[in-house]
């Protein structure tokens, strides 16, 4: 006789509902598998919620991710299908595991960019950026900050639809004065205000990340690969000019402004430095606006979507045709370690490949 709750709950799936096909991701917080619904044959991605070593029970970051994804429903946001719990039984030694089950996307942007065979035309880059900004516009109008923009968290289906993913660091924001943690966003994509200790930040932090990703569409690897927060700020200054109150009024009030050594006398060279990769003037102009040091002057997603870049020839073009050439999934996890960023001086220390494992703050912040 089934227990009442099982029969009256349509979507509490039983343990054997999915079969795992392959591991496709290993983030700071758990593994991601490609899996298949045994009955319907639908292919899904299952993200395991790591519970080991959780003194505080179900991780608050996973709670936020669930809460947020249950409200966000948009073409450019990864679709959470259900939560699936493998129940504690004698067979798994009474350990139960929770999975977030997502619609499967064939690629992530980091995987695509690390494959030199995959070439994006200007029109296709426009399509990527348009969808990315559209996703940001949607979440920001729903008062959600993503806080972990990077190429690996941008998924692309084989039909060419882009989906923002990984809401593990996301949270709701308000327009009031806030004190959020500033230890968010993978170092290489972290905007200057966070690096300087700002805690009352807003949607602009995600647009900095969008700028880094946009540049990466041409450079093919992250444009500023700092080893430390100090180093990251140095790289930012070398690209975007010295961080001074003349160009960024109020920056002197940020907690770390006087405590960190910032390069002096640097000129802003966003367009010059990127010109070697990016020939399109409109693209350079939008990049310049996204990579604005002062968050209050950084372009927002709405204005970015209205930028000429998207409205002059060549117009954005669907990716499905280009992607149809590839019959294999491309994910960061499956790609060979990414090469050094080409436009950075000084080069990063040898052996430092990915930021996640090398940033001791990262894990800490993921928990709180």
């Amino acid at each position: 006789m089934p227990k009442s709750e099982e029969s009256s709950y349509p979507f509490c799936p039983d343990e054997g509902k999915y079969e795992k096909l392959a591991k496709i991701g290993q983030g700071t917080f758990g593994e991601v598998f490609k899996a298949r619904d045994k009955k319907t044959k639908t292919v899904v991605a299952m993200k395991k919620v790591l519970m080991e070593n959780e003194k505080e029970g179900f991780p608050i970051t996973a709670l936020r991710e669930i809460k947020i994804l249950q409200v966000l429903k948009n073409d450019n946001i990864v679709n959470l299908l259900e939560i699936c719990r493998i129940k504690a039984t004698p067979y798994n030694r009474y350990k139960s595991t929770v999975y977030l089950v997502f619609e499967f996307c064939e690629h992530d942007l980091a995987g695509l960019l690390s494959n030199p065979q995959v070439k994006f035309s200007l029109a296709e880059i426009k399509k990527v950026m348009q969808q990315l900004l559209n996703g940001l516009y949607y979440i920001h109008s729903n008062k959600i900050l993503h806080r972990d923009m990077k190429a690996a968290n941008i998924l692309i289906t084989k039909a060419g639809k882009l989906k923002l993913a990984d809401f593990g660091l996301a949270r709701a924001f308000s327009d009031k004065l806030n004190r959020y943690t500033n230890r968010v966003v993978t170092l290489w994509y972290r905007p200057p205000e966070l690096l300087l200790g700002e805690r009352n930040y807003g949607p602009a932090i995600d647009l900095w990340g969008a700028g880094c990703i946009m540049a990466e569409m041409w450079t093919r690897s992250p444009i500023m690969q700092g080893n430390t927060e100090q180093h990251q700020l140095t790289l930012i200054s070398q690209l975007c000019g010295s961080i001074v109150p003349e160009t960024w009024p109020g920056v002197e009030k940020l907690e770390l402004f006087s405590k960190i050594e910032l390069p002096k006398g640097q000129k802003r060279k966003v367009k010059e430095r990127l010109h070697g990769y990016v020939k399109d003037q409109y693209a350079l102009d939008l990049l310049d606006k996204l990579l604005s040091l002062d968050p209050s002057k950084r372009v927002n997603s709405d204005d970015a979507l209205n930028h000429d870049f998207f409205w002059v020839d060549p117009l954005p073009q669907d990716l499905n045709h280009m992607l149809s050439r590839y019959n294999k999934s491309m994910f960061e996890y499956l790609a060979p370690p990414r090469r050094r960023a080409p436009i950075n001086q000084p080069p990063q220390a040898p052996g430092v490949v990915r930021p996640a494992g090398h940033n001791p703050d990262q894990h800490f912040e993921r928990i709180f």
């Binding site: 227990k3 009442s4 709750e5 709950y9 029970g57 249950q70 719990r85 009474y94 929770v98 709180f368």
Partner: protein, 326 residues
Amino acid sequence: MFSISTQAKYWLFTGETELATCRAEANRSYISSRRAHLTDNEVASCFLTPMEEKLLSRQYEVVLRKFCSEFQPPMPKCVIGTSLAYFKRFYVHNSNMDYHPKDIMLTCVYLACKVEEFYVPIGQFVKNLRGDREKFADAILSFELTLMSKLNYHLTVHNPFRPMEGFIIDIKTRYKDIQNIEIVRRTAEEFMERSLQSDACLIFSPAQIALAALSFGATKEGLSLDRYIKEILFKTATEKEAEDTLYQLRRVKFIVKNTESVPREQAQAIQKKLDQCRNQENNPDSDVYKQRMLEKLDEEEDVRHRKRAKLVADDEPMFFSLEQDR
């Protein structure tokens, strides 16, 4: 947005009748899974009736409220509202005999703290309890996943507190008939408090509850919000919609007014009966449960689980008696 929320979609019932049907089904299903060859009379004397279950839940809602109101650090109202909503939702489809309300109650509060971003580490959380705190922590953590899955991971709760502030501002700016709406605030808030002790949040939208509270407060002051509702709030809607809302508000008031408190002796008698018929597999103090924990421990290395071992070995019953909490 409430209208597209999981609350509106999955956790609003048509009324007390539907709720009673669901609860009776949970009760029946628990009993039928373990009555074996008992006669109906024997069943009645061993197991809780749906009515007894309801009284017990109500009683534990009182305990939950009290726990929250004394909680240190002081808790925002939304945490209390969300905890109670979880607790009520849980017992729509589950029997008190399957999961003891004392375990579920604390787990609801702990989960609500996290979800409402009122973060209190478990160690600090259990400092608000008297007794073996480590054991409480352990029980809360071990029921957390069960609670979440029984709630179908619908964790966002829309409480009536914010809508009430919204209506107050709206009345101030758009309804000139009432000069000083602030005078009804206290009574309205009392009404909301009382509504937490009823099934209102399983039947009505937060906006309906908030409006009913204000309308109740207004009446007490000899004022009326009917014109505000008909001519301002529902200006563009049909007459029927406005009338329907007024009808719903009366329903809210009726349901909230009729929340009776449970006499102590009766609650204690039910508890005693519960000790006999509860599911021992979900009882952290039972041998089956401990045995299972030990099996789990055999395989695990980390410190937390070794701590657990110490815990299950220790035999003191996990307490949450009603006396202590009066």
